[in-house]
Point group: C2
Chain length 228, copies 2
Amino acid sequence: MPSARRIPEATVARLPLYYRALLETADQHVGTVSSERLAALAGVNAAKVRKDLSYLGSYGTRGVGYDVEFLLHQISRELGLTHDWPVVIVGIGNLGQALANYRGFGARGFQIVALVDADPAKVGTRIGDLSVAALDDLPRVVADCGIAIGIIATPAGAAQEVADRLVDAGVTSILNFAPAVVSVPSGVSLRKVDLAIELQILSFYQQRKVPAVDGQHGETPRAAERVR
Amino acid sequence: MPSARRIPEATVARLPLYYRALLETADQHVGTVSSERLAALAGVNAAKVRKDLSYLGSYGTRGVGYDVEFLLHQISRELGLTHDWPVVIVGIGNLGQALANYRGFGARGFQIVALVDADPAKVGTRIGDLSVAALDDLPRVVADCGIAIGIIATPAGAAQEVADRLVDAGVTSILNFAPAVVSVPSGVSLRKVDLAIELQILSFYQQRKVPAVDGQHGETPRAAERVR
DNA sequence: GAGACTTTGAGAACAATTGCACAAGCGCGG
DNA sequence: CCGCGCTTGTGCAATTGTTCTCAAAGTCTC
């Protein structure tokens, strides 16, 4: 079970970065990593890595570093990646289809087990080895597959309605790709990814560059050294 | 030109939310909005809206609120959305194609003007009304179209190489969808969107729910009232 | 034009996050 | 078994971000 400790949100958001970096490290049959090296691989600084990892427990060895396999296990336990999560995607347009075919999910413990769309013309069509179900079937699909996580990939107008239906069906974590503000009852987690917003943020800094080029912005605040 | 004022990064990240909310408001032929209403539409709280907007200038009227059209203009000027940005997408797999066809970009001032892929089999194929160019053509494409913003939608292994080529070609803002840490020289902006990471963050909180359901997490810290 | 009411803008308190700096702990070589 | 070099874990200060609060400034009614 996960430790009862409270882990800061900023740290939680970085754990997947460490997880990915550790997977790469493990592939190279490296036994231990220092916070310095892990930081380089994850694109953050070493002090942050140490502080973040210290919230999980004292899993390092002074003078040596962190045992790759052990740390990998601890982080995957903390993130709940020791088992696969079944996921449903609602909205099988361009984006929904791309997400359905995206290899990256399966590799990280998420399995797309159901596709749902409101358009009767799409219901029954096959994407990969799944066939698209009707929106009204959502409760049955969620119950049958034990789904706790849903992805909204509909147009903005449908997002709130779909979110409500997901919640009614029993989904308690939602990832929203629709460019719309969605509200959910407390007890349901919601995260959003808005592609246009990311470009607009880039546009803001890009536009300020024209008079005088200044440093890097956004999620990566400094030019990192390339990792070997 | 944009004001020289320094605008906090957190505020910049919310300006697009206000922008979207204001567009919706303008569609309904509403003349002014209060910070309260704008906050509800954007899914944040009113104090934050006022503080954020105050970084742009004193654009509100006490007792009345903000003029929708005027504020819309100010924000779009600040975000650099008064003109269209040409954008190149590198990596025309599932995700790249979905992004190429995504309507949301065009509607927000971003126009996908070029598609590039390293795979010779894909070069020359048409997606929508664009045909895929070779990676080696990147410098020419970027120069010809005056492209400043590039999107990386390749597999993780190719991301750094593509980023380097984009930078060499003259791109100074990059949005990276590949699940890899990419480093760029200072003066180049970089943002990343990692789909698997978002799910892993949800998984973290989801997993903690099983013993005792607690509140909402992630980007939307509280259950918002539904906006009329 | 005075008073009631609304809403902004900003100062200040508060909270979260980051980064520095260094003591403490561990392994290794002699 | 001692000293040295390396690396963690963490207290603390600095920075960044959020929320509270309220005076100031506007509208509207009469």
